[in-house]
Every structure is written in structure tokens, then in C-alpha cells.
Symmetry: C2
Subunit: 126 residues, 2 copies
DNA sequence: TTTATATTTGCAACTCAGTTGCATTTATAA
DNA sequence: TTATAAATGCAACTGAGTTGCAAATATAAA
């Protein structure tokens, strides 16, 4: 199920990702957009944007869901599998523009990988 | 807070990890040991075993908590930071006995990393 | 422009992993 | 054997995320 209609909710959500270079958690979006739309709508629009390859999602530190813009993803293929960095001080999450080699595992077939690196970001480690 | 007393719950839980070479989710342990102890006890004992460096924990696919035996961890240091492999068919999770190099990130200080590789295990890919 | 209709939204109620407070039980040391 | 600190069970809670359904709305057809 892809994005079909240009709704207000969709545009407000997309604007959040335009203004934010890093990743944003669903939780944070619910807090930010509380007065503008229902949390159910947020979850549903995010899901559609992910299906359409506009956003990608991953799980942060505490198992909550984060979203960030995709680079070169499509409905069928999410090539945007990169590590994410979460600051243990301020909680900010960024996509890392590097590729990490996933080793061959004999007998096993690798399909995907999720890499979360934790530490102190540029601001918090200064 | 470390493990202090040799209680029945502790021994039953440790036995589960003796008989299982891979990782076990808290959820699975609650199911397995339902008749033997309360889920609160399971969560609390697991937490203590982790504090003591007997087990380590990480988050699986869907954000639920998994535990596995440590190799060479201690109260103060968890050196057992290795990738985990989760089978997308049968759900089984294993610790991978390989080390993956985390790249230097300029301006950022890396403290920890969580790597979850997803795919088909030896049994399910055969 | 109006209308028909499928999609989207809000709301409330729910799910489910994990947590907390507190009274009771139990392992351990004196 | 007893005192007591630690561990346990239970019930109620938390919080992210989901679901069903009625109401609202974007879009295409007339």
C-alpha cells in the first residue's frame, strides 16, 4: 500500500524530515505534532512512507522506532542499509554515510543487517 | 547489585542457558518457565546475571530482549560485543563468534555497538 | 462544479513486553 | 535456631505501538 493522496498529515510529516537532517523517532514526532494530528495517523503515514521508499526505519537503543530519509530506496529495494549512530548523552540519532562490510557466514544466507553504534556525538563529546 | 544467593529460580534459569547454545528471549523464557516462576522474577534474575557478566543482552528484530551466555565478560567490562544473527524464518538467534571492526568516526566517540544480522540460518537455508 | 467513492483520519479501546510497589517467603550468617 | 536482608509472587501499572469503526476528505468521474 503506497502513498496515494496528498493529505495535510503527509505534508506536515514530510516537512519534519526536510527540516531535520538526522533521524526522528515516532515518539518524538507524536510529541511534536500532538496538536496537529493523531498518533495513529503518524504511525500510518510513516508506514506508508517507508513502503514507498521515502523513509527507512530502524530500532534505537531502547527498542523504539526511528525514521530517516532514504537515499536511493524504492518500493522494492531498500539499498539504504547503513549504520546508525545514537548519542548516549543527548539521544540524537544520525545515519552514518559509510558502508560496513557484512562478513560471509558459512551455511547462512544474509538478507539484512542492522548496525547501531552508540557513543557521544560531535556536540556532546566536545 | 550482583547475584548473591543461590536460589532455585537462579539455577533453573542458568540451566536453560546451559542446554541452549544460542540466545533465548525473555519472552521465550517466560513461556518455558511459566509453571516454575513468575515473569517478574525472570526479568529480575536476568538483569542480575547480566550485571554479573554471566549473560549479555541485546534487542532482536522486533525490539524484544534476548539473552545469551557471555564469554569473558565481568562485572565491570562486557568484552563480549559481537554480532548476533537472527533467522527470519524460524526466529532463532545466535551469537556470531566473529569481531567486526567499527570504523573511526571523526568528532564522535564510539562507546558500544549493536549489530544484528538477519537472514536464513543453517537449517532454514538448506 | 457537483457527486460518488475509496482513502484517510480521529478516537477509544486494546495489545503486549517490560516495570513497580508491596506484602510474603526464603537463603544465609550470626 | 533465629534474625534479617534479599528474593519472590502478585496485581496493577507503563508506554510504544495496533486495531476496529464511524466520520471526514481527497480524488476521479460525470
Amino acid at each position: 500500500m503506497g502513498v496515494i493522496r496528498k493529505t495535510q498529515a503527509l505534508e506536515i510529516l514530510l516537512a519534519e524530515f526536510e527540516n531535520d537532517s538526522g533521524a526522528i523517532s515516532a515518539k518524538e514526532l507524536i510529541k511534536r505534532l500532538d496538536s496537529q494530528m493523531n498518533k495513529t495517523t503518524i504511525y500510518r503515514v510513516l508506514e506508508k512512507l517507508e513502503d514507498d521508499g521515502v523513509l527507512h526505519s530502524f530500532l534505537g537503543n531502547s527498542g523504539i522506532k526511528w525514521y530517516a530519509k532514504c537515499n536511493g530506496c524504492s518500493k522494492s529495494r531498500h539499498i539504504d542499509v547503513h549504520p546508525h549512530f545514537q548519542c548516549i548523552d543527548c539521544g540524537k540519532v544520525d545515519c552514518l554515510n559509510i558502508s560496513m562490510k557484512i562478513p560471509e557466514l558459512s551455511g547462512r544466507e544474509v538478507v539484512a543487517s542492522q548496525i547501531l553504534i552508540q557513543g557521544k556525538c560531535e556536540v556532546c563529546s566536545a
